[in-house]
Symmetry: C2
Subunit: 121 residues, 2 copies
């Protein structure tokens, strides 16, 4: 590389870096928007599973339901494939959520047994 091209190359690199930083900011803005949506959907999902947990506790149904979980996993894997999301990750994600839900359900069932009362829906 000649001495004469060094400043131009440096400018081009600086412009490329500035463009990359701008692009990174743009993508991170989208990620932040998607995360806000994800958190709100998760909040809504736990509102539903909270009600399921109370229903199960009142009717003495087991907190975990392997048949239902298998159907959910199969369905989500198919949806993930259509959306070009790694199906293995979709399954890992659902298991991550279900673990939390089962933990909530056990807590509801324990409270229900301790108090000897039905829980409000």
């Amino acid at each position: 590389m000649s001495e004469g091209t060094a400043p131009a190359t440096g400018d081009a690199a600086a412009i490329a870096d500035a463009a990359a930083r701008e692009r990174l900011r743009y993508l991170r803005g989208s990620i932040d928007n998607l995360d806000a949506a994800l958190v709100h959907l998760l909040a809504e999902r736990f509102k539903c599973t909270q009600q399921v947990g109370e229903l199960k506790a009142r009717h003495s149904l087991p907190p975990a339901d392997p048949a239902r979980e298998a159907a959910q996993i199969a369905r989500l894997r198919t949806l993930a494939e259509d959306a070009r999301l790694d199906p293995a990750f979709a399954e890992k994600f659902l298991n991550f959520i279900i673990d939390e839900v089962v933990r909530h359900h056990r807590a509801i069932a324990d409270r229900s047994v301790t108090s000897g009362e039905g829980l409000p829906e």
Copy 2:
């Protein structure tokens, strides 16, 4: 309890169980809808982070970014509180996603080094 009221109590229990099963089906329908939305948002999020990963690899930026991650966690905890989602769970969820993203970024960086070429955005 007198003999005469036993069948009526049995009917009431059967009706209550049928209503509970119907309510469970209804809630599970909502959970399935929310899961489909979550999977599609996650797919979109990974499309963004895929581009971030390629950008980082091209500009030799480190795959993980602790300052950015700390800001994301603080923001999501606040959003979670407003949405009545356990902030600790929101943080666990983001860490779960970030672990997967960093895994993807490392794979992109490794491929980039191996091929000696920039990756397409």
